[in-house]
């Protein structure tokens, strides 16, 4: 670029920036359309990657076979936070117990995918696409869950993290946000140029356009000063989701994940509150509880659903761990949730009750749980579009939410 052009460019871009930057924050937000998006219902999907051990998270202490199958890693009844006389919560999830008591937390046990795969990758892919057994599905269920909108917010679908996961990819524009604070091009002048260069580029699809819109919107939000979130990526993700919800920026579906659940070894330490699983659950439960506290009364607009690709073997393996299994426990949190109850039909853990003689059997299809949240909370009743090839319908819902 020759000096002359460079000066003109700098002047123009400085003007462009000043045009927004000189306005007071509230006015900027209005100008950018954030405020006009208003309050929305938000569905937050949480993925525990690596196959969390549902049997040691929501523990069937009333099931004698549980203790037979896991001589060294079963959690003693007295260590659990009892839920209903049959199930007990892993003590590391203590932060969630008050939510349970307040009936804001529901659990669906023995939920999962009908597909038999024990491959992390395939099972995650199936759960994220919402089409178990079908690899050709191009998009994710959370993207399809969005209702058609005339003037959609650029942040109606947000995933926290450096990647855009399959769950939220699809026809509706979705943005991946590593962190709100760093979600911009640091050099403002360059940002303008990039926008001109890539705003209509083909191979980048709509990514560039959506990105620049979302950058403008998120830049206007300031900072979430809420406390109580645990250190680490997951807590940070939930904190930022809460932030976008509180700002009324038009967030409808959000996604966050937390890895490290593949506990083939040392799942439980010598003490029930020690070991890899307890460590993971502490971060997980603390973050969810902090999110709940941060949103307060606003939780009436929010539903959080957790899932993991499959459960783990009912029997412990040779190394105080568990191998890849089948059914799992899902959590659903929100003010509109009929909480304080463990939903689903318990299949039992006796040898003949196990799936392929090794795993907890699936009695609730994960799509019935997600379907209920999409139907009742987001108000999208066309579930055949959200879960193609599956007859999700209110008749099959576990009943976790008021219709």
């Amino acid at each position: 670029m020759r000096p002359m052009h460079r000066r003109i460019f700098l002047r123009d871009s400085a003007l462009a920036i000043a045009g927004v930057g000189s306005l007071p924050l509230w006015l900027q937000r209005t100008a950018l359309g954030a405020e006009s998006q208003g309050r929305k219902k938000t569905l937050v999907a949480i993925f525990q990657r690596g196959a969390a051990d549902g049997l040691n998270i929501v523990v069937p202490h009333g099931e004698p076979d549980y203790y037979k199958l896991r001589p060294t890693i079963a959690l003693p009844k007295e260590s659990l936070l009892d839920l209903d006389g049959f199930f007990g919560l892993n003590p590391a999830l203590a932060p969630l117990k008050p939510l349970w008591d307040a009936k804001n937390l529901a659990i669906i046990h023995a939920a999962g995918s009908p597909d038999p795969t024990r491959s992390h990758f395939d099972a995650q892919d199936y759960m994220e696409s919402g089409t178990p057994g079908r690899k050709s599905t191009a998009d994710g269920w959370l993207n399809r869950a969005l209702l058609p909108a005339d003037h959609p917010s650029s942040v109606r679908a947000v995933s926290l993290g450096a990647a855009l996961p399959r769950t939220i990819r699809g026809r509706n524009a979705a943005v991946a946000v590593e962190s709100i604070a760093s979600f911009h091009v640091k050099d403002a002048a360059a940002s303008q140029q990039f926008e001109t260069l890539y705003g209509s580029d083909s191979i980048l699809g709509g990514t560039a356009r959506t990105t620049f819109d979302a950058v403008k919107l998120l830049r206007s939000l300031g900072e979430n000063t809420a406390t109580g979130y645990p250190r680490g990526k997951f807590g940070e993700s939930l904190k930022q989701i809460a932030h976008i919800i509180k700002a009324n920026a038009g967030l409808e579906v959000a996604f966050a994940d937390l890895g490290g659940w593949d506990h083939h070894v040392n799942e439980v330490g010598q003490n029930p509150t020690e070991g890899q699983l307890a460590q993971r659950l502490t971060e997980f439960g603390t973050a969810l509880a902090a999110f709940h506290a941060d949103l307060g009364a606003r939780m009436e607009d929010v539903v959080v659903v957790t899932m993991s690709e499959f459960g783990r073997t009912a029997r412990e393996n040779g190394n105080r761990g568990t191998d890849h299994g089948h059914a799992n426990a899902m959590l659903v949190m929100g003010a509109g949730v009929k909480g304080g109850k463990v939903y689903g039909k318990w299949p039992g853990l006796q040898p003949e009750q196990l799936y392929q003689n090794r795993d907890l059997a699936v009695t609730t299809d994960f799509r019935d749980v997600l379907g209920e949240a999409v139907h009742h909370h987001l108000g999208n009743q066309k579930l055949e579009g959200v879960f193609p090839g599956y007859s999700a319908s209110p008749a099959r819902f576990p009943g976790i939410m008021s219709a």
Partner: protein
């Protein structure tokens, strides 16, 4: 400004023109784009002068290529890259060794500098473990009275000091000042300052630096691209416990020598590598009847490696195996374990841990034969048609297109089977196929963060002052080096890397390169 955009464009974020056939010059550019970490200025002319066929042949025979002396100069200080694991652990502190020393189970090294490095590491660990990390912070010791204050003179003074005194002098200098001195110092002093500043980071940092430097500077570009591909295929997560110290030898000894060799050799090398045995827990897997190794040890089968061996390393998830096969394969590998945990962890077969029953794998009955069972399983897998298909598809996805043409995959697959899994022959088949050179391929695939970042460095000729700092950027772009926790490795599909967050990170990287003109801290002009 122009430079920034040129960089982005060079880094092939975009594709535009699509004529009916690639022009000869497009072919050169295409080959450089796909088979290297990006063209450097002058590369197209160089390949044109040499002839594309000759250049391809040379890249397929990296041993015939004279290595770049610039690379060798930069790699020289990174001594861990050439050490065996046990040698490395004698020179640089690991968490386990530091713990052993603090508990009196191991002694400090005798060499004064190494000793100081271990002491610094032990102090750090102690401080991190203390409830109040700032509580016992002592003021820095007094600076040596005769140490000059001007940076250049100070560097000369430090370079002349014997090891014992050097450590004391360095400890008296605040961290920030030490960094600045390191920039002025010669390679030896610089290395010592870096090692003392972060002793526990040396091993992973050398590994990351080595990868970025090789990708940027090596003349054996295809080999580097393939090492990246195959490490990712046989992925190991650096941050899983002892793997922090095992990955260096793993990549160097199990992956690198075989990337243009026989697949079966690489498969065996990974199966017996301490890094993989530890990562996928096989070192702890034993037959249910095997005697326990002590009160705290448990025994029994662990399926982790058995499953990933079938799903990710060989047959592929649709390769035609069952849960039963996973369990049986895992039984065959019981007893494939590690000796001397914490001191190098060599592979060894422990018959006492081995399941002595008969096994049935993929329809074949395996008589109890100890270690030979696992070897036989690897042999079956390495020659299985599903493996040929899976590997061919993956290579074609990486080098040709996100959804590679089945006709191309089929050719590569045939070569794999006919050549006893000769990976050089498979690559040759791919490069000889018209599908590789179709015009639609030209600039038709988005780069992974690593390709993007290194190709921008190569295109601009920018020197990275502190290569490990680039890993922060790689993390922002979703591809921290050696740190994919899941055994799947990173995606080979370009489209999977495109999203708002990574787009912004790429733009920010491009602008930070631009700012190097004005002396931004991360980069310096060559």
């Amino acid at each position: 400004m122009k430079r920034t955009f040129a960089l982005l464009a060079l880094a092939a974020l975009v594709c535009l023109a699509q004529p009916s056939a690639m022009s000869p010059d497009q072919k050169l550019t295409h080959a450089l784009n796909r088979l290297t970490f990006g063209a450097r200025p002058g590369d197209v002319e160089r390949v044109r002068a040499m002839g594309l066929t000759q250049w391809l042949d040379e890249q397929l025979h990296p041993q015939s290529i004279t290595e770049n002396t610039e690379l060798e100069k930069r790699l020289a200080p990174l001594d861990t890259l050439h050490m065996s694991t046990s040698e490395m652990l004698r020179h640089y502190p690991s968490r386990q060794v530091v713990k052993a020393i603090s508990e009196g189970r191991a002694e400090l090294p005798t060499d004064p500098f190494t000793r100081a490095v271990f002491e610094v590491a032990a102090k750090r660990v102690k401080k991190a473990q203390a409830n109040n990390p700032q509580g016992d912070e002592k003021p820095l010791p007094a600076l040596p009275a005769d140490m000059p204050t001007r940076p250049r003179e100070r560097v000369a003074y430090l370079e002349a000091l014997p090891a014992e005194k050097l450590v004391a002098a360095l400890e008296a200098i605040p961290q920030g000042q030490r960094r600045r001195l390191a920039d002025l110092a010669g390679p030896e002093l610089r290395r010592k300052i870096e090692v003392l500043s972060a002793p526990m980071q040396v091993i992973p940092t050398d590994l990351v630096s080595g990868k970025i430097l090789r990708a940027t500077w090596s003349n054996k570009q295809l080999e580097e691209v393939l090492v990246d591909f195959w490490y990712n295929h046989f992925n190991v997560f650096l941050e899983k416990g002892a793997d922090r110290e095992l990955v260096t030898a793993y990549e160097r000894d199990a992956i690198r020598p075989h990337v243009l060799g026989k697949f079966k050799d690489m498969l065996l090398a990974t199966a017996q590598s301490p890094a993989m045995l530890f990562y996928l827990d096989n070192w702890q897997s034993s037959g249910a009847q095997a005697p326990a190794r002590g009160a705290k040890q448990t025994r029994g089968l662990n399926e982790n490696y058995g499953r990933e061996l079938l799903e990710l390393h060989t047959l592929g998830v649709d390769g035609g195996y069952s849960q039963q096969d996973v369990t049986e394969v895992a039984r065959c590998f019981t007893g494939w374990t590690l000796r001397r945990p914490g001191q190098g962890r060599d592979f060894f077969f422990n018959p006492r841990m081995h399941d002595r029953g008969e096994k049935h794998v993929l329809g074949k009955t395996l008589e109890p034969r100890g270690i030979a069972e696992g070897l036989q399983v690897l042999d079956i897998l390495a020659h299985h048609p599903s493996t040929a298909h899976f590997i061919a598809t993956k290579l074609a996805t990486r080098f040709v297109a996100d959804d590679p043409p089945p006709s191309l995959v089929s050719k590569m697959e045939k070569t794999f089977l006919a050549s006893d899994g000769d990976l050089r022959e498979v690559m040759k088949t791919m490069l000889a196929a018209p599908e590789f050179w179709e015009p639609a391929r030209f600039n038709g695939k988005l780069k992974s963060p690593l390709e993007f970042l290194v190709s921008a460095l190569r295109a601009s000729g920018d020197e990275v002052k502190n290569p490990p700092s680039l890993n922060t950027l790689m993390t922002k772009m979703g591809q921290p080096l050696y740190r994919k926790a899941e055994p799947t490795g990173y995606s080979n599909r370009g489209a999977d890397w495109m999203n708002s967050s990574s787009l912004l990170a790429r733009m920010n990287f491009a602008t930070s390169l631009k700012h190097a003109e004005y002396g931004a801290p991360d980069f310096q002009r060559k």
